[in-house]
């Protein structure tokens, strides 16, 4: 409706001018002036929108350039070899050691625990939503599950430290307050929706004909879900796992609160460890002055974290594309 009004206004403007009866050239120039202005406006708007879109490109460039720039400062003081192969991370003590492996180990320890929790639960939920639930049930249960991903991570951190850890201490009496296990478990709960919604999308996309064929051969619903739908949706499930792992690796506040601040090369989940993200938080707390080695370390660790998650995201997206192409 509104558009018609606008359109007629554009069309009728020259005729209104024409009525008093000036020469035809004046009428033409008015129309063409208006047209030119409209065209300029169109071009201007499209340029402006392009600039908006380019902000995201500059964000990526900004991340890479800024992190690399600060990391160069770090590697002026610390050798590459020490950073990637050293097994001690004590940048603030004498003698300072800059081996990043303990932080990487801590990161993957908590992320692995999280995946061990989220994968079976998330997959089970995905199977239920895609294969068992009626449409109405599905529509109410799915958003409820998504709420888990919307809870602020600092709240999960509080929950891990003040509720899960005391419960776990009943089971493992010699457990320390800050430990990888409780942070990992809670992180696992947080990433359930990531695993379940991506896998469910993939399962939902499996054609009905495959299911019907299996039912015609006498399969039960469970057998159809496990032996037909899951294998057919495997690239989606792999994608879900990788993307959830990447999220767990980059997760910050839960591990900063509950996993401790003791960089340690260990696979023991009841010990106190430190993740890459938690280290960055720990150093950031203290307003470390610009230019010191400690200041540069957080960028070196951040750059490594950025590349690790980037690689995982790219692999994950590749798998997502694969299952989308298939059906």
């Amino acid at each position: 409706m509104k558009l018609v009004g606008r359109g007629t206004r554009v069309e009728s403007a020259p005729t209104k001018v024409a009525h008093p009866g000036p020469s035809t050239t004046a009428k033409e120039s008015l129309t063409s002036r208006r047209r030119r202005r409209n065209r300029l406006w169109e071009v201007g708007v499209s340029r402006l929108l392009l600039i908006c879109a380019l902000v995201s490109i500059f964000t990526t460039l900004g991340i890479v350039i800024m992190l690399v720039w600060q990391t160069v400062g770090f590697f002026r003081e610390v050798s590459f070899l020490e950073f990637f192969t050293g097994t001690k991370w004590t940048p603030m003590f004498e003698p300072a050691n800059f081996g990043v492996l303990p932080l990487v180990a801590g990161t993957f320890l908590t992320a692995a625990i999280a995946i061990l929790v989220a994968l079976p639960i998330g997959l089970g939920a995905a199977i239920y939503l895609s294969e068992y639930a009626k449409d109405r049930v599905r529509r109410t249960l799915k958003p409820t599950l998504e709420v888990l991903a919307g809870v602020p991570t600092v709240v999960y951190g509080y929950f891990a430290l003040t509720f899960v850890t005391p419960v776990l201490q009943e089971i493992f009496p010699n457990m320390i307050v800050f430990n990888a296990l409780s942070a990992g478990l809670v992180m696992g709960i947080m990433i359930i929706p990531m695993v379940s919604s991506l896998s469910e999308d993939a399962m939902y996309a499996v054609p009905r004909s495959l299911r019907d064929a299996a039912y015609a051969l006498g399969s039960t619903r469970f057998e159809v879900a496990i032996r037909v739908v899951m294998p057919a949706a495997v690239s989606g499930i792999v994608a879900a796992c990788i993307l959830a792992l990447s999220r767990a690796v980059g997760e910050t506040m839960i591990v900063a609160i509950a996993a401790g601040s003791t960089p340690r090369l260990t696979l023991n989940p009841v010990e106190s460890i430190q993740t890459m993200t938690a280290y960055i938080v720990q150093i950031s707390l203290g307003e470390t002055p610009h230019g010191t080695v400690e200041y540069y370390t957080i960028f070196a660790v951040g750059l490594l974290l950025f590349f690790m998650t980037l690689v995982m995201n790219l692999i994950g997206q590749w798998f997502v594309k694969r299952y989308r192409h298939r059906y």
């Binding site: 879109a53 068992y132 599950l145 600092v154 999960y156 509080y158 003040t162 709960i189 359930i192 506040m253």
Partner: protein
């Protein structure tokens, strides 16, 4: 005969297996909700007694009885207001460009892939970007403005993706009809596409903002752990936000501060709940008015 009963027995075990697993799968779906309930009860039990008017209107203090989170609350409001101001036009502009203007070119694919990747970048990396780019390089200092710009970059991918979905759901026939009447592209976008995509865009933006409030803890890289006893009065001032204040209290060993953290969490969850309710109201209201 023998064979038939074997088949029947086999079928019975298969059916039983199916039943057991269907219960198990349902349980998987409910685990999350259960944990959520336990979490809420835990937080309420620890913090409800500390959550009162005095708590909201006081500054942080060494004395837990007098402590509050006024500065963090105002800091959050400041940072989020500026973030919304920057992120909304940028996000919608990008989405409009990608959906309505950019033909299927290399540039479009590059921007789209890039946005998908940015959505997966850990939030603490955005904190580091803000620290080196806004705080140091551009010399904004540890200010509200630097924090808001950082959160803008962090929440942009989410807003863009939500806005794109909303724009994509506008039927193609509406656009074609407008073009057939001689409307130019911007006229089509402004008069046809944006009005009917607006509820979706607004809902997506509000949800992205509520996510950003929760993830604002990474602003710790910018604001550090300050002990603020004033309310920021301008974009140049130092600030702290709710999640940072909560983190500060959680990381103290005394029980009283743990309870303060729980009280802070109650406030944070109320804010988020309010925003989500607002998103739902906006969606319903616009849907109704567009049906009329």
């Amino acid at each position: 005969m023998e064979n038939g009963s074997a088949v029947r027995r086999n079928m019975r075990t298969r059916r039983a297996k199916g039943r057991i697993f269907s219960v198990l799968f349902l349980a998987c779906t409910m685990v999350g909700t259960l944990v959520l309930v336990v979490l809420l009860v835990d937080v309420l039990r620890d913090g409800a007694r500390w959550f009162d008017w005095q708590f909201i209107t006081s500054f942080p203090s060494r004395d837990p009885e007098k402590a509050g989170l006024l500065s963090a609350l105002f800091g959050t409001v400041w940072v989020m207001a500026l973030t919304a101001l920057f992120a909304f036009p940028l996000g919608v502009g990008t989405a409009v460009y990608l959906e309505e203007y950019a033909p299927d070119t290399r540039l479009r694919r590059l921007i789209q892939t890039n946005i998908n990747n940015l959505a997966g970048v850990p939030s603490i990396v955005y904190g580091l970007l803000g620290l080196s780019l806004f705080v140091q390089f551009l010399g904004l200092g540890r200010s509200v403005l630097a924090g808001a710009l950082t959160l803008t970059l962090m929440s942009l991918p989410v807003i863009i993706i939500a806005a794109q979905e909303a724009i994509r759901s506008v039927p193609e026939t509406h656009r074609l009809g407008a073009f057939a009447l001689g409307a130019a592209r911007w006229q089509v976008v402004r008069k046809i596409v944006l009005p009917s995509a607006l509820p979706g865009i607004l809902t997506g933006t509000i949800l992205a903002m509520s996510r950003a409030i929760g993830e604002a803890a990474v602003l710790i890289a910018i604001s550090a752990l300050v002990y603020l006893t004033f309310i920021p009065t301008g974009p140049q001032d130092r600030f702290t936000v709710l999640p940072i204040q909560i983190y500060n209290w959680v990381s103290r060993p005394q029980d009283e501060f743990q309870h303060l953290a729980a009280a802070g969490i109650i406030l944070l969850l109320i804010v988020l709940l309010g925003m989500n309710a607002a998103a739902i109201i906006v969606r319903n209201r616009y849907q109704k008015s567009s049906e009329e």
